[in-house]
């Protein structure tokens, strides 16, 4: 009797599995998988915003979310957009904890039929992890901070994201040489310590800068520290006192601030050089340090309005996410011109983006190359002043 029941249960289970498999290959589902299922746009269109809203990188994720919301708020406030409003679905990727969170967010966006495109994710490792879920369901995604080179070269990490992934920041091939040249030519450093934070973003940038400096005969020592570290004293003890520059391409500005303070506290006055991931004047303010960053146009009226609306805190790290939201909303609006849109149409419209410099918080025209990279734009070098402000020096 027991055997018969077991057999029946196994047979029923097999039927369910087979039925599910066939359901998965149904025409409508397959269309959705390619992103060609039409969605009625209605008067409110939905986009996803994937950012580390909580967790160790929340300080940058919150900035990105606020800038994205800022764009949507401005868009929705315009009378002409009353019948084409935008709604945001948020996804918390918890950068720095586990990329599994980014994958979950991507899956939830992908399975939400209302979502037409995605702003984010923030970290390069998150882009790598969530590509399969987003791309599999036809979603285009525009990151305002992922700078890893391999994301757009179509082969290094074995995935071709062309036509799906776009970004509103230049990549590390632009940032790395800019930093290395500045350290060598302007700071005239002879001994440099490079410390990565064990994440893909940081390691890639560290490799680029290390190789560029070594090629010019500069002594470079490589160290590595986890993003979870709060006590840097042992690492600081390892750094020779005669070091000229410490390069820290990290993503968590509070960690860099703590590192800088502990370094000074240990009696070592060494120049620190951060990357775009640390560009956070509210937190990272070790006087005399340097930072490379996307050239956000601080004179742009939109940026100025944001600053005054946020108690003088520019939260500039989030500004490219404003541009990413602008790119995506523009694409959604164009794709919805006939009242219906597919995710594939939205992707095509993203590729055709053309935002004039005057309307861009980045200070340059936003136009894409075929691989999803910006056609224009570069990195600037900023120095942190004694009052905590950032001054562009290169």
């Amino acid at each position: 009797m027991k055997l018969r029941i077991t057999f029946a249960a196994v047979a029923a289970l097999s039927l369910v599995v087979v039925a599910a498999a066939f359901a998965g290959s149904d025409g409508k589902a397959a269309k959705a998988a390619r992103g060609s299922a039409a969605i009625a746009c209605g008067t409110t269109r939905t986009i996803g915003v994937a950012a580390p809203i909580t967790g160790p990188a929340a300080s940058i994720g919150q900035q990105q979310l606020r800038w994205a919301q800022y764009y949507v708020k401005r868009w929705n406030a315009v009378k002409a957009n009353a019948k084409q409003k935008i709604a945001i679905v948020q996804g918390d990727t918890q950068l720095g904890v586990d990329t599994a969170f980014a994958v979950k967010v991507a899956q939830s966006f992908a399975s939400n039929a209302k979502v037409l495109g995605v702003v984010g994710p923030a970290g390069s490792q998150e882009v790598v992890a969530s590509t399969s879920a987003l791309q599999g369901k036809g979603l285009g995604f525009v990151s305002g901070s992922a700078t890893r080179v391999s994301l757009t070269d179509g082969h290094t990490d074995g995935v071709n994201r062309q036509g799906f992934f776009f970004r509103t920041v230049p990549n590390d091939n632009v940032q790395g040489p800019t930093v290395a040249n500045y350290i060598r030519l302007k700071l005239k450093a002879q001994r440099v310590v490079v410390i990565d934070d064990q994440e893909a973003y940081s390691q890639g940038l560290s490799d680029t800068v290390q190789a560029a400096l070594k090629a010019k005969g500069i002594s470079v020592t490589r160290e590595s520290v986890s993003q979870d570290t709060t006590d840097f004293s042992s690492l600081i003890a390892k750094i020779p006192g005669n070091t000229d520059v410490i390069y820290i391409p990290w993503q968590l500005s509070p960690r860099a601030q703590a590192f800088g303070q502990q370094l000074k506290g240990a009696g070592k006055n060494i120049t620190l050089f951060g990357s775009d991931g640390l560009f956070d004047p509210a937190t990272w303010k070790i006087s005399g340090s340097y930072d490379s960053f996307f050239p956000v146009d601080t004179n742009n009226p939109i940026v100025k309005a944001y600053v005054s609306a946020h108690n003088g805190d520019g939260e500039y790290f989030g500004a490219p996410t404003y541009a990413a939201t602008q790119v995506l909303v523009g694409a959604v609006t164009r794709a919805c011109a006939d009242g219906k849109a597919t995710r594939a149409e939205v992707r095509r419209q993203i590729a055709r983006t053309n935002i004039p410099a005057a309307q861009s918080v980045l200070g340059f025209r936003i136009v894409y190359q075929k691989n999803g990279e910006l056609r224009y734009g570069g990195f600037g070098v900023f120095q942190i002043q004694s009052d905590g402000t950032y001054k562009r020096v290169g």
Binding site: I53, T54, G55, P56, A58, S59, Q62, Q198, S224, V225, S226, D228, T229, T230, D231, S233, S234, L235, A237, K238, G241, L252, P254, R255, Q257, A258, Q261, Q262, K264, G265, A266, G267, T283
Partner: protein
């Protein structure tokens, strides 16, 4: 000499020999850095260990009196750090012109300690009153689960109240970036802030030992720890004594929170998790229930972590710390200065 004391002496001797051997290896035989590096890491480890020791004391006191692992203790440490941040923000932060250099900064730090210790102490009493006391006669798993619940409650409450952003005391700006150089400019550097942390921790530990040994509350604590029912029959109010224990343990965690914030400049709602875990490890390594054991365990965990980070890598420091915990537990299940539980047969 009791068998227990003899065993503790054997443990301490073994530990001393191991530390001496490691020191000789690190100073004379280590191919890399030499004595300066070793002693710099040692100083760093003692500073970090002082913080862990204060957290461990709270774990050990509560366990000693209630046989409860208060997993919310790490989050009381976090709340203490936030209370001190509140005091600092009231004045306008470390860079405020209201804070004069030197003595003024020290006075502010003193206020931060007082507020954090008082606030954390009362928080501990509230946790005991509302989360643990109703479960005092329940199976031991119940308060353990409640403790985890309280931990998450505190973490998420702070997230809702203050957001997820990292905050900083800018401790070195507040106190001083200066310190003492031992062995010349390239020798061992001990920051004044680090010294202040060590001195404060030692003073608090001595105060605690004095309280437990020579005050009426201390005697009552020992009595309740030994036999709660018998202590009640002798006229001691166990509820008051337990509340007092929670107050003191939590106040020490609050002080540790301020020290951590001053030294490592990062205050956030999840900071109590790992620090609490390390404090718990320290309490277990030292022998949970033993006050000197908690101090020894804290220092040992801090030292091992610092050495592992310096000689190996930050990636493996936790592996080494918890590996040593497992090793000590295998060799000496009741910890270095713990008392083996006697079973009546």
């Amino acid at each position: 000499m009791s068998q227990n004391l003899r065993q503790q002496l054997v443990n301490l001797t073994g530990l001393g020999i191991a530390l001496l051997g490691w020191t000789l290896y690190a100073v004379y035989l280590s191919p890399t850095q030499g004595w300066t590096f070793y002693f710099q890491l040692t100083v760093n480890g003692i500073i970090l260990g002082s913080v862990y020791a204060l957290i461990a004391l709270g774990y050990t006191m509560v366990y000693g009196i209630l046989k409860l692992l208060n997993f919310a203790h790490g989050d009381v440490f976090m709340v203490g750090a936030f209370i001190a941040l509140g005091v600092l923000n009231l004045i306008g932060g470390a860079f405020s012109p209201a804070i004069p250099a030197g003595a003024g900064g020290a006075l502010i730090v003193l206020c931060m300690f007082a507020a954090a210790m008082t606030g954390s102490g009362f928080l501990g009493v509230a946790i005991e009153r509302f989360a643990y006391r109703p479960l005092r006669n329940a199976p031991r798993i119940a308060p353990l689960i409640t403790a985890l619940g309280v931990a998450f409650f505190l973490e998420n409450s702070m997230l809702l109240l203050f957001g997820s952003k990292f905050r900083t005391y800018n401790g070195f700006d507040l106190v001083s970036y200066n310190g003492i150089h031992i062995g010349g400019d390239n020798g061992v550097f001990v920051q004044y802030l680090g010294l202040m942390v060590i001195v404060s921790a030692v003073a608090l530990m001595i105060g605690l030992i004095a309280l437990v040994r020579w005050t009426q509350l201390g005697r009552a604590m020992r009595a309740v720890s030994f036999d709660r029912e018998a202590a009640a029959m002798m006229g001691i109010d166990p509820d008051r004594v337990i509340a007092g224990t929670f107050f003191i343990g939590s106040a020490l965690a609050g002080a540790a929170g301020v020290m951590f914030g001053l030294l490592y400049s990062q205050i956030y709602h999840l900071m109590g998790f790992l620090a609490g875990l390390k404090g718990f490890t320290a309490a277990v390594v030292g022998g949970i229930g033993s006050i000197p054991g908690a101090m020894l365990g804290g220092l040992l965990v801090g030292l091992v972590e610092s050495w592992a980070k310096g000689y190996l890598s930050g990636n493996v420091s936790d592996l080494v710390v918890f590996g040593i915990l497992i090793g000590i537990m295998l060799v000496r299940p009741s910890g270095l200065l713990g008392t083996p539980a006697l079973q009546k047969v």
